[in-house]
């Protein structure tokens, strides 16, 4: 499929929804672009779906590794000063965020 071909697997509303889930603010002009890009990804997935994977175990990881563990030992942590150094907002030893009410 060429870049110019239109695909509408994803609606503008879905673009808005995904942007909201990702906490992204999008300019209106960017939305159709994102719609195309996301739709093309789905087109590709559709292509993959046509393959026969009947006897293939699902791949959750690409590395042929398992059971990588650490022993349960407490190690030194960062100092609160270092941990808070790059915080966008802080107060004393706390990170500070806009008020959240449950």
């Amino acid at each position: 499929m060429s870049q110019e071909e239109k695909s509408n697997k994803i609606s503008i509303e879905e673009v808005d929804y995904i942007a909201r889930l990702s906490r992204l603010k999008m300019k209106p002009a960017d939305k159709p672009v994102m719609q195309q890009q996301l739709s093309r990804i789905l087109d590709y997935i559709e292509k993959l779906n046509k393959l026969d994977t009947e006897n293939v175990a699902p791949t959750t990881h690409i590395l042929p590794l398992g059971n990588v563990f650490r022993e349960d030992e407490a190690k030194a942590s960062l100092s609160p000063e270092a941990a808070l150094e790059n915080a966008p907002d802080k107060e004393g030893s706390f990170f500070r965020v806009p008020r959240v009410i449950e």
Partner: protein, 480 residues
């Protein structure tokens, strides 16, 4: 119309590891804010989390105790959502292919045995702690990430629970099992053990489940039962009034004794789980499971059954004594030294537990050690002290930690069994109470209790009751 509730529980248990789930930060409780955090648990770019092996084994041990099947190839997943207590923007959890599945717990409810299914056991990490200040013009909250990344085990029951009472019993059972294995502190008040409930009701006989409400914020075993009782009543009343149950989250308000809708404006959760690329699978071979199974301690049910057969104890006693591993050990340590098990059980369940409860002391810190208790019971058995005096001795032992022998000697509490000594007190009492003696002779034989009391008082409780009873009865007969 009769309805029945259907309840499923989701339990979160904080595992008692030294370090966090994926990094070496300490899990110690109540540290200075943000002092137990590192690039890994803060989710800074470029870090690599590594699984804590002990957390996996604790999860497996619990799963085995709950009769679950360990999933041979289990994986971690990212649960994506934004909240300020979640620094990475996702929680590492397990979704498809969790640690273990399909287990059960056997419960006794009102004398009937019931099996409650366990849907799954999986591992995940805890979130941080948000602090709010209750003032209207306050525009900020504060975050402490110490708790972020602490290993949690989630246990999900099947909707096999049909009363608030059974839900509590199930929770208590899980607590007992986890405390026996030592994988969790199991303190609901402090939050190391948490529980959410899915509650729905349906007409009796119906197969299909009703719309469920999720009830949260029940941080004690008692609150759990009360919250569920309330929620069941609320749903029944709603349906009876022609209303409908809506799927929502409700918080238990203990002060008001009601559940309150969270009325969350947030849209339906869409967590977009996907396999955590930074963590490789946990592969569990048979050998590993077998090795772990061998380290499982005797569990509460097994121990109770053994106590009944080995010590010939009533089921009730066995249940109380095995309610914690430490108490059971205490009993067994005593039982090695003192073989009258029922008498021993009576003293532990009575005096000892009452004293511990009153002082709020754990059996682990019991000031009377098994040897001292056994020695005191031997003194009763040998007739050195009476059962009544023993209570006094026990209190003294509890207070001072001294041995029974020392207390009895120092306070002169040995029982008087000497016939002459007791007779002389009896004669004194008979002389001082001619009216009572006359009444006895006139047929009011029950007055003998009063006379016994008088003798006991004069002997400061030390007269041997059996000897006294016999001597007094004989003496009164002689008074012609």
């Amino acid at each position: 119309m009769t309805y029945e509730p259907v309840i499923g529980l989701e339990i979160h248990a904080q595992l008692t590891t030294q370090s966090k789930m994926f990094c070496g930060c300490s899990t110690k409780f109540e540290q200075a804010p943000n002092s137990s955090i590192c690039p890994v648990c803060l989710g800074l770019p470029g870090v690599l989390p590594v699984v804590n092996k002990k957390a996996v084994e604790y999860g497996m041990l619990t799963a085995l105790a709950l009769n679950c099947r360990i999933v041979p190839h289990n994986i971690f997943a990212r649960k994506n959502y934004f909240y300020p207590d979640l620094p990475k923007g996702y929680q590492v959890s397990q979704y498809e292919q969790p640690l273990a599945q399909k287990g059960f717990v056997q419960l006794e409810i009102n004398g009937r045995s019931q099996r409650i299914g366990i849907n799954r056991v999986h591992l995940e990490e805890d979130a941080g702690k948000l602090l709010h200040q209750n003032s209207k013009d306050n525009k900020v909250s504060w975050v402490d990430f110490n708790r972020t990344g602490i290993p949690l085990m989630e246990i999900v029951s099947e909707p096999d629970i049909f009363s608030a009472e059974a839900a509590k019993a199930f929770m208590v059972k899980l607590r007992d099992i986890m405390a026996y294995i030592g994988v969790c502190d199991c303190n609901m008040e402090e939050g190391s053990l948490r529980c959410d409930a899915n509650v729905s009701i349906r007409r009796v006989g119906e197969k299909e489940l009703g719309v469920k409400a999720e009830v949260k914020n029940m941080n004690s075993f008692r609150f759990l039962q009360r919250a569920l009782e309330y929620e069941i009543e609320r749903q029944v009343a709603e349906l009876e009034a022609g209303g409908r149950i809506i799927q929502e989250t409700r918080l238990w308000d203990e002060a008001k004794g009601i559940t309150v809708s969270m009325r969350s404006k947030e849209e339906a959760h869409d967590y977009r789980y996907f396999p955590e690329p930074d963590l490789v699978p946990v592969m569990v071979e048979e050998g590993w499971v077998e090795r772990l199974s061998k380290t499982l301690p005797e569990l509460p049910d097994e121990k109770r059954t053994r106590f009944i057969s080995q010590y010939q104890l009533p089921a009730y006693d066995a249940g109380v004594l095995t309610s914690s591993r430490e108490l059971a050990d205490y009993f067994e340590n005593c039982a090695k030294l003192f073989a009258e098990y029922k008498m021993l059980s009576n003293w532990i369940m009575g005096e000892l537990l009452r004293e511990l409860k009153q002082q709020g002391v754990d059996i682990k810190r019991c000031p009377v050690n098994p040897e001292n208790l056994a020695n005191m019971l031997k003194l009763i058995q040998q007739g050195v002290i009476s059962g009544k005096i023993a209570k006094q001795v026990f209190e003294e032992m509890y207070r001072t930690g001294a041995t029974a022998q020392d207390i009895v000697k120092a306070k002169g509490l040995e029982q008087i069994t000497d016939t002459q000594q007791i007779l002389s007190i009896i004669d004194q009492v008979i002389q001082q109470n001619p009216d009572s003696v006359a009444a006895y002779k006139a047929g009011k034989t029950r007055i003998i209790g009063f006379l016994i009391g008088q003798v006991m008082q004069l002997s400061r409780g030390k007269a041997n009751p059996q000897v006294l009873n016999k001597l007094l009865a004989d003496r009164l007969k002689d008074q012609k």
